[in-house]
């Protein structure tokens, strides 16, 4: 509910007029000499609580009657989603419009985006002049002013794009704007279908953000227009994996196609696969059972065209935006690792661990001489392995620059002691494990031999490591890497408390001793620096024997390839609006002449030279499960928030003038007041006869 004539509430104190009159009346009492004081005293003692309460109730209903009159004069209106009692007109309204693919869904004739847009514009029109309206462009993250309704319409006229709507991030942008611009009482209007993935973020992030909103000098209210009517029938398609099987004439393209169903969508689906490079269409019949269906599709490829692009498309339904999934295929580019080592053996071993089969994979590892390597050459490698004393001078500068731009640098200790530091981390003194006679074991193999029949693990042991993510994470099948079976004859501790410990070693023989960091990661710019506490040599550790090191290095190599902005991969499957694009001029593929798409916000296939990239909407957009109303409101805990669910039939923006309600309420208040002050009936009243003689009556009337 809101009021069109809000200034009438300046007269709000007038509603207390009856109370003032009452108090004034008490003050101007008159004096009266009185003879029958004995009865007055008795009456004063006996005057019931009800009599006193009734007096205050009469005043209350008089006040209420005046309040209702005032509200009636304020020309109240109700029913609009943006209205609320006494909220009045905000000074500034910031509009966030969810333009994610799910907003293209049409639960009725209009799409969710159109419903949200129409209602927001309608409400802003009803606010009238004096309200500053800002519209957030989710692509650029800039807030643009809408000086009038026409400008607002233009700013909101864009359609749906293929990026996920990161509502928390957009709210943070709005927060920054409010922090910079103290523009009085503000409101944030969010038009969204409450798709859970768009609102997902950590509780801490939401809490931090809402807390910051609360600390703003001005009051900011959130209004959510939820256009979350379910769709009648909808299917979405996605390509999970693209593989080329075989070679030559027997080459086949294998697509892992995933289809999700929503609503009354039929289980028999006739999809179409289009191979753009061959300009060929293949019919694909699927039986989709349940809400999620995955099917592998194999298509023969022509020999000359082992690289290309295409899409899979579902028949038309209530949301056309999620009916097509793009893919590209072809030989991946090389992922190179550069290896620098003090001595020959660990270098060659690291080379093999990083690229075990260069002939049959896209992984290569090169032994490098740091003195011959130019600073810019490090960037050719997705990962650099450095064994020995830490680099200093220009070498260190070059490597740090390389890491900062997205490279991965993995450092192993060597025999040479050095005080050098890299990004705050350095090697500590060399430790060795000694036998009962106090002599160090020459190699880890002799430690194993010394275990005897009991096979009790000798020396330091990796007891804890980070298994949830990173280079030591469990395999997809859930198996842990065998780090606890590593032997260490020599090791160096990692010094500097600025990194994240991914694995640490402790001594079985001395359970009380503190665990020492074994593998430490430090994020540096867009890349990362890893310190591994032992070297893959017999004299140092069993890293040259265990499966741990190759797995770890290949994972880091893949990370380096990705974090370097796609420098090392030629064909990629990307998500719209996620990550940076390699510089250059990207053109749309498979569109009509003269048309083009924005690779930042729209799905499609884009080409730069020979490099093809398929861009699809984010995974979360296919999961149509919306947030519940309470859950959505709980995100803004602590902030004043209103959520209104728009139904596809009927507009929530229809505001009804409700002054008649208040007229009725005023009449009701006056009626109750009249009832309370109604004198008692003749048969209830105490009446005393003026004159009496003769026999006395015991009736009430004497």
């Amino acid at each position: 509910m809101s009021f069109n004539f809000l200034s009438i509430f300046w007269a709000l104190p007038l509603i207390f007029l009856p109370v003032l009159i009452h108090l004034f009346n008490r003050l101007r009492h008159r004096k009266l000499p009185w003879a029958a004081m004995m009865f007055l005293r008795m009456a004063n003692r006996k005057s019931t609580r009800y009599a006193r309460l009734r007096q205050w109730l009469v005043l209350l209903f008089r006040v209420l009657a005046l309040l209702m009159l005032l509200m009636m004069l304020g020309d109240p209106a109700a029913g609009g989603w943006a209205s609320s009692l006494f909220s009045g007109k905000p000074d500034v309204v910031v509009v966030l419009l969810d333009r994610s693919p799910s907003m293209e869904g049409r639960p009725g004739e209009a799409s969710r985006l159109e419903l949200a847009r129409t209602n927001i514009i309608k409400e802003i029109k009803s606010l009238g002049d004096g309200v500053r309206v800002m519209v957030l462009d989710p692509t650029t993250g800039h807030l643009q002013p809408a000086d009038d309704v026409k400008a607002l319409g233009n700013l909101m006229s864009g359609g749906v794009n293929d990026t996920a709507a990161d509502i928390p991030a957009q709210m943070e942008t709005v927060l920054e704007w409010f922090e910079a611009e103290n523009r009085g009482r503000g409101e944030v209007w969010i038009g969204s279908d409450l798709q859970a993935s768009n609102w997902e973020s950590s509780k801490e992030r939401w809490k931090r953000m809402t807390g910051a909103f609360e600390e703003l000098p001005q009051k900011v209210r959130v209004r959510v227009l939820a256009v979350n009517d379910p769709l009648g029938q909808n299917g979405s398609v996605r390509i999970n994996e693209v593989l080329i099987l075989g070679a030559g004439d027997a080459a086949e393209l294998q697509l892992e196609v995933e289809v999700q169903r929503e609503g009354e969508m039929a289980s028999d689906v006739s999809a179409v696969v289009y191979l753009g490079a061959e300009n060929r269409t293949v019919e694909l019949d699927m039986v989709v059972e349940g809400s999620l269906h995955t099917q592998f599709v194999k298509l023969p490829l022509k020999d000359a065209l082992h690289a290309g692009w295409g899409w899979v498309e579902l028949p038309s339904d209530d949301n056309a935006r999620d009916n097509r999934a793009y893919f590209v295929y072809g030989n991946p580019g090389l992922m190179s690792a550069g290896v620098v080592s003090e001595t020959d053996y660990p270098g060659r071993f690291l080379q093999m661990a990083a690229a075990p089969d260069p002939a049959n994979t896209n992984q290569v590892a090169l032994l490098l001489d740091p003195t011959q390597t130019k600073p810019g050459d490090w960037a050719k490698h997705a990962m650099v392995l450095w064994q020995g004393a830490l680099p200093t001078g220009k070498e260190a500068e070059g490597l740090l620059k390389y890491t900062e731009s997205g490279g991965v640098l993995v450092c192993f200790p060597g025999d040479t002691d050095s005080d050098a530091k890299l990004a705050g981390l350095s090697w500590g003194p060399k430790n060795d494990f000694r036998n009962a006679q106090g002599r160090p074991f020459p190699s880890w193999r002799e430690m194993v031999a010394a275990q005897g029949e009991k096979q009790d693990h000798l020396g330091p042991r990796v007891q804890t490591w980070e298994e949830s993510e990173g280079p030591l994470a469990r395999t997809e099948e859930g198996f842990s890497l065998p780090l606890d079976s590593l032997y260490f004859a020599q090791w160096r501790s990692v010094e500097g408390d600025d990194g994240t410990v991914l694995a640490s070693v402790s001594h079985d023989s001395d359970p009380g001793s503190p665990a020492e960091p074994f593998l430490v990661r430090k994020i540096y710019g867009k890349g990362q620096i890893i310190f591994c506490g032992s070297s893959p040599e017999d004299g140092w550790s069993s890293l040259n024997y265990s499966i741990v090191l190759p797995i770890m290095l290949q994972r880091l190599l893949a990370e380096g390839a990705v974090s370097g902005s796609g420098r090392f991969s030629e064909n990629r499957m990307r998500t719209a609006g996620v990550g940076e694009w390699p510089p250059g001029s990207w053109e749309s593929v498979g569109v009509k002449q003269g048309e083009s798409r924005d690779f930042n916000t729209e799905a499609g296939v884009f080409r730069q030279g020979e490099q093809l990239v398929a861009v699809n909407r984010s995974t979360g957009e296919d999961n149509s499960a919306p947030l519940k109303k309470d859950a959505a409101m709980a995100k803004f805990s602590g902030m004043p928030v209103t959520l209104f669910e728009v139904k596809s039939k009927g507009s929530p923006g229809d505001r009804e003038r409700i002054w008649k309600w208040f007229l009725g309420l005023m009449a009701l208040a006056l009626l109750v007041e009249g009832f309370l002050i109604l004198p008692k009936g003749a048969d209830e009243r105490v009446v005393i006869n003026r004159s009496t003689t003769g026999k006395v009556s015991s009736e009430a009337n004497v």
């Binding site: 004096k31 009865f39 009599a51 005393i688 004159s691 009496t692």
Partner: protein, 275 residues
């Protein structure tokens, strides 16, 4: 009525009037002239014929002079009304040959005029009533007790008061008067405002007989006030009936002549009923 001279009122004693009273058995010592010879002849039994004796009336008019009697918000003060009743009754009684006395009570006996029959005495009563003033406090109950003890002969006692005192103590006084075989009547004077508390805005009530002050809203306390007044009036009325007193509640907005006319007619009827 017990009087010293022959008057218009029936005496409790047997006398020589023409009004037959009763037969009673002859006892030795009775005057043989009073024997009813006819009855003796018929029944051979000795009976004496007795006749009513007529005597004059001794009347005491008691007027309450307490401060509360000065109240009169809507017209006449209760005290003025009381003086009119007292004066009128005195005049009437005196002119029919009855002896009239006047007692003015405040916190003591302000004036004590014994009953007399001569016209000069009536003037003395009028003068006393004219000069009488209300006092701050009242000792009505105490003075009535003393009064009941003081007068030896049976008499008619007319009390004119608003009776704003403890009801139980007042009823004790009535019992005392009844025990002394006095015929008494009570003119209970009340102001109309005291009977309906018809006030509309907050009032600071100032006690006329004390220093108490009470700020109250009549609208709130009216019902319990009237209830308390009602209970009090019922109690007084019942007490008067119990002690054979003639109770007259009088609102001062009523004409006093009509009140007195009713009173006199009722007493006349009562006298005939007894006869």
């Amino acid at each position: 009525m017990v009087g010293n001279i022959v008057g218009h009122h029936k005496s409790p004693y047997r006398g020589s009037s023409v009004e037959f009273a009763e037969y009673r058995k002859y006892v030795p010592g009775d005057d043989p002239r009073l024997l009813d010879w006819r009855v003796l002849a018929r029944t051979d039994r000795y009976f004496i014929r007795e006749f009513e004796a007529d005597t004059n009336l001794r009347c005491y008019i008691v007027v309450d002079c307490s401060a509360s009697m000065a109240f009169g918000e809507k017209g006449t003060r209760k005290f003025d009304y009381a003086r009119k009743i007292a004066a009128t009754l005195s005049y009437m009684l005196s002119h029919q040959g009855d002896a009239v006395g006047l007692q003015l009570f405040d916190n003591g006996v302000a004036s004590d005029i014994p009953p007399r029959r001569n016209p000069l005495h009536l003037k003395h009563i009028f003068d006393t009533l004219a000069k009488a003033k209300t006092q701050k406090e009242t000792g009505l109950v105490q003075e009535l007790h003393q009064f009941a003890e003081r007068i030896r002969q049976r008499a008619l006692v007319i009390i004119i008061s608003d009776c704003f005192c403890d009801v139980d103590e007042l009823l004790n006084c009535f019992e005392h008067l009844h025990f002394q075989k006095h015929d008494f009547a009570l003119f209970h004077l009340l102001d109309p405002l005291e009977l309906d508390l018809d006030l509309d805005r907050p009032i600071r009530f100032q006690d006329m007989e004390g220093s108490d002050v009470l700020l109250a809203e009549p609208e709130i306390i009216r019902e319990p006030y009237l209830e308390a007044v009602r209970e009090y009036l019922v109690k007084i009325h019942e007490g008067c009936n119990k002690h054979n007193a003639d109770y007259r509640r009088v609102s001062t907005d009523q004409p006093y002549d009509a009140i007195l006319a009713d009173f006199l007619v009722d007493r006349e009827m009562l006298a005939k009923g007894r006869a």
